[in-house]
Symmetry: C2
Subunit: 360 residues, 2 copies
Amino acid sequence: MQTITFPYQQLFTFTENIFRCIGFSEENYTLATKVLLQADLRGIDSHGIARLSGYVRLWEAGRLNAKPNMQVIYETPSTATLNGDTGVGLIIAPKAMQIAITKAKQCGTGWVAVKNSNHFGIAGYHAMLALEENMIGIALTNASPLVAPTFSTERLLGTNPIAVAIPALTQEPFVADFATTTAANGKLEILERKGENAPWGWLQDAEGNITTDTQARKKGGALLPLGSDYEHGSHKGYCLGAIVDIFSAVFSGANYASWVPPFVSYLPLPQNPVGEGIGHFFGAIRVDAFRPAEEFLKEMDNWILRFKNAKAIEGKKVLIPGEPEREQEKLRIQNGIPLMPSVIEDLKQLAEKMKVDFLS
Amino acid sequence: MQTITFPYQQLFTFTENIFRCIGFSEENYTLATKVLLQADLRGIDSHGIARLSGYVRLWEAGRLNAKPNMQVIYETPSTATLNGDTGVGLIIAPKAMQIAITKAKQCGTGWVAVKNSNHFGIAGYHAMLALEENMIGIALTNASPLVAPTFSTERLLGTNPIAVAIPALTQEPFVADFATTTAANGKLEILERKGENAPWGWLQDAEGNITTDTQARKKGGALLPLGSDYEHGSHKGYCLGAIVDIFSAVFSGANYASWVPPFVSYLPLPQNPVGEGIGHFFGAIRVDAFRPAEEFLKEMDNWILRFKNAKAIEGKKVLIPGEPEREQEKLRIQNGIPLMPSVIEDLKQLAEKMKVDFLS
């Protein structure tokens, strides 16, 4: 499919205008735009501007509060729980991370659980906020159920990502950001649009048999936890997804398991919710929490260089987590962001509906 | 292979005697025995009494201090770093977890990094110590390099396990404890002894090609990170192993990557060490760190019941992490612990060498 490339700044202005139209404050529409488009810059196209119309539909359905009154509802010296007041995850998450950072300044570490939120963009963005403060950042979120635990035929977990950002002295930071499934849902959407099969181990059908049919998700099937099947450790992927669900939602009082509300507004909210909205979990750890800062940062340099210089399979190299996304970001800031025709069409319709000029 | 079953108490007394012989204090030989045999009770045979003679050989080689002077060398309100003084990981880890618990009582959470340690048994034991205090427990450790990061032909990571224990109100606790590789090294050892091939995706050869030859580990090959290959998410398993390595060793000042010292005393220590011993990382989180304790525990019950009662593949059921090990523990306390002939032979030789009666 032929993509068309748009300058970052043009997409930025358009997205700001849309968020302004639905009533975000100036501070919030700029922040929400920055967080959302970070996904496009880093090459995680499924989590960026492609979701903009989805946020607007959530707002139209009364499931997203444009002027939330976020409040810390519970705390200890190193922890806090934030009620996001049904605001957009894109602004709730940086606020929560800020609280974690403030706690870490006092206690060495800070930990914030969030309820009553929704999709927060890419987890990596929030984890990376800690880097600016010379801290290690952690961001987790649960998400609507697409994944079957090992041996289950029901979807009970989201793709529940884990992001960990760790600064170094002279090297670029280590930034891991990954779904706890074998494959990202976005990759499956692309295969489905092309009419291609998925590789073995990404999906199961309604009876729990592994299938390569990308349509399986629409016929009662599910994504598989990292590991694919029991023989290849899918119970470990299930453990990871479960830990993210519990830390994000059982800690905070958000919905978990099959009760997590869907991002898409055309699906009904689950009956008998067990909490409020979706949940996130954030952590900030001072680089001098366990040893003097310079010692830690110097060893991180050495760790990174050891892995970078590892002997590799012919024609390949060992990557440091975050390297490919950083490369992508450099390229896309310079050359612009390629959008799929279907995304452009969706944004045009959004522009018309909201009476905003499309990318003018 | 025919196993012979021994009563738990008999193995306990024998192991205590061995640890006493090499100079452990009364408090420490009982504790080390309890931790070590917890692996046998929970069915993780590779990490239990089968390793006893290995600890003794480490002591003989002067790499294990029977009377360590463990000291907190750095701290903040919610964190501490413990120098294990080359003691046995089996006693250093519970000590570190105790410090994390004490910190959590003050701050809501407590986090302890450890250097200058060695093998600590099963991670799950240490995470579960938090349950007794109505806390969530976390335990990580690095280990000698057996695993190749994605695209690497070098071994740079250990099987680096993650354990997370979470209490509930009336339900048994959630206890995840898993290596960040596709398969446990212990399973490969069993296949190798039987002369059988490994499944696809567990191992690579010296050139980085996936192989089913269990001998590959001895011919320059490596274990694969959870996910097996790039198409199935091995870069995520690599991220997990890397995070465990950094939290355990770069935080604390232990050795990381290819510098982690081997457990077996016949292998030389790596040249130019970057730290001291191996590293661990522990966390304790009060159940009332984010919301009132009873609310949290009640929701955990509900989370567990939702997954327990999930619709399952015919003939299977969805397990809660920790369930199989708990079943095993009940059975083995009652019926005894089965040992392989090779382990029995090894223990007999150890008994003779140490002039301790073998299981009398």
